[in-house]
């Protein structure tokens, strides 16, 4: 019984991962086209590290930028979706372990989720 349940959960997880990666790739590609149409002739310099400005490195900035259809903002939004895919996978696992009444693994999955959310949301604050 528990085996069947595991199988089912793994199947849903597999579909979730594929959907996340493919839609993120599509968004990044669309953003890339817009970026190159506008800035294709510019000369980017990656030799000297400057770091990205806040509108490309914070959640609020990226959303703001993407919804104004800026190419670079859309690419970052796609990358955010990509980063969110494994996070969604972990969140879904909590639900899956709950369905199996496995408290120990619900706890483990929650710990991993908290660490991931700390990195994603706790950022922006200086350290």
């Amino acid at each position: 019984m528990s085996k069947w349940s595991d199988q089912k959960i793994e199947e849903i997880i597999g579909n979730l991962l594929r959907a996340g990666v493919m839609s993120s790739a599509a968004i990044v590609f669309a953003g890339g086209v817009i970026y190159l149409l506008k800035h294709g002739a510019s000369h980017p310099d990656y030799h000297v590290f400057q770091g990205e400005p806040p509108d490309l490195s914070t959640l609020a900035g990226i959303f703001h930028n993407a919804f104004r259809l800026h190419g670079r903002g859309i690419i970052q939004l796609g990358l955010l979706l990509l980063i969110a895919t494994p996070v969604a996978r972990v969140a879904f696992s909590i639900w899956g372990f709950a369905a199996e009444h496995d408290r120990m693994y619900m706890l483990f999955a929650t710990i991993v989720l908290v660490i991931l959310l700390y990195s994603l949301l706790g950022v922006g604050s200086a350290f």
Partner: protein, 279 residues
């Protein structure tokens, strides 16, 4: 080189890295950073950011195919992800304070080690081990469809050693923007005695979660540049998906040898550039 040309060349290089990584099973991530820093003259921090993003893409893409086959063990994966994500956080914090020259040297050493590991014959698998108390309590023992048909059961060993090694693998991943699949498989094969098929697929599963843990820090630190990450992520993803599809067993032996030589060469380059400060 303008942005359009740069994007096309980076995408082509990344495609090749992803293709070779998938065909040889060595992963394309390790050659991306040297490719971007040595050939495209990008700062190693931008290179690490772009590489990390592509690692999430390939790992999630491949994991989607693996989970359906019933080889990966989600309990082992979930438990060990506690270690890898904590390690990744520490690694990513370290990366922001470490001089880039030191990063380049460490990266070179990891490349040399990966090349060495890929040439070393794998020790034979130990079967029918007795159940271990801790692993049993953690419900890690499992089974998978065996080559002979039917189901093979396995008992996991050495949980504390495996957990510690996984912390190290996560730290390397966060520090260098790589999947460190090699270290993960090592921990699961050697320390925990997990059958090779299960450890490879479960490790692949964990790589995306591990990379996601440091990605947030990279993003907020401005390491992830859209103009660079876009061709890298799309190129590597396309290359690795194609590689997984055309995988032909007979031809990979020579390819593996060539690719491991390339990795060793890039490793030596990274160490040299790091030491003389040309990075």
């Amino acid at each position: 080189m303008n942005a359009l040309e740069f994007t096309i060349f980076v995408a082509m290089g990344s495609f090749l890295a992803g293709l070779l990584g998938a065909l040889t099973g060595l992963g394309g991530g390790v050659v991306l950073v040297p490719l971007l820093t040595i050939f495209f003259k990008a700062d190693i921090r931008y290179a690490i950011g772009a590489s990390l993003v592509s690692v999430i893409a390939t790992s999630s893409g491949a994991a989607a195919a693996y989970v359906k086959e019933g080889f990966s063990n989600i309990r082992i994966g979930m438990f060990l992800e506690i270690a890898t994500t904590l390690g990744a956080l520490c690694g990513a914090f370290l990366a922001t304070v470490m001089p880039t020259r030191a990063l380049a040297v460490i990266f070179g050493l990891v490349l040399l080690y990966s090349a060495y590991l890929s040439r070393k014959p794998r020790p034979p698998e130990q079967r029918n081990l007795p159940p271990d108390r801790l692993a049993t309590r953690l419900k890690m023992n499992g089974s998978f469809p065996s080559e002979e048909g039917g189901v093979r059961h396995y008992n996991v060993q050495g949980v504390p050693a495996g957990f510690s090694l996984m912390f190290g693998a996560g730290a390397l991943s966060g520090l260098l923007g790589i999947g460190s699949g090699a270290v993960k498989v090592l921990a699961m094969d050697q320390a925990m005695k997990i059958p090779f098929k299960v450890s490879t697929t479960t490790s692949n599963f964990m790589i995306g979660v591990t990379a996601a843990a440091s990605a947030g820090i990279y993003l907020s630190r401005g390491y992830i540049d859209p103009g660079l990450a876009m061709p890298v992520m799309l190129g590597v993803l396309a290359g690795s998906l194609l590689g997984a599809r055309v995988l032909i067993k007979a031809e990979t032996k020579v390819l593996r040898l060539v690719f491991s030589l390339v990795i060793a060469f890039l490793g030596a380059q990274m160490i040299y550039k790091g030491v003389v400060g040309a990075i």
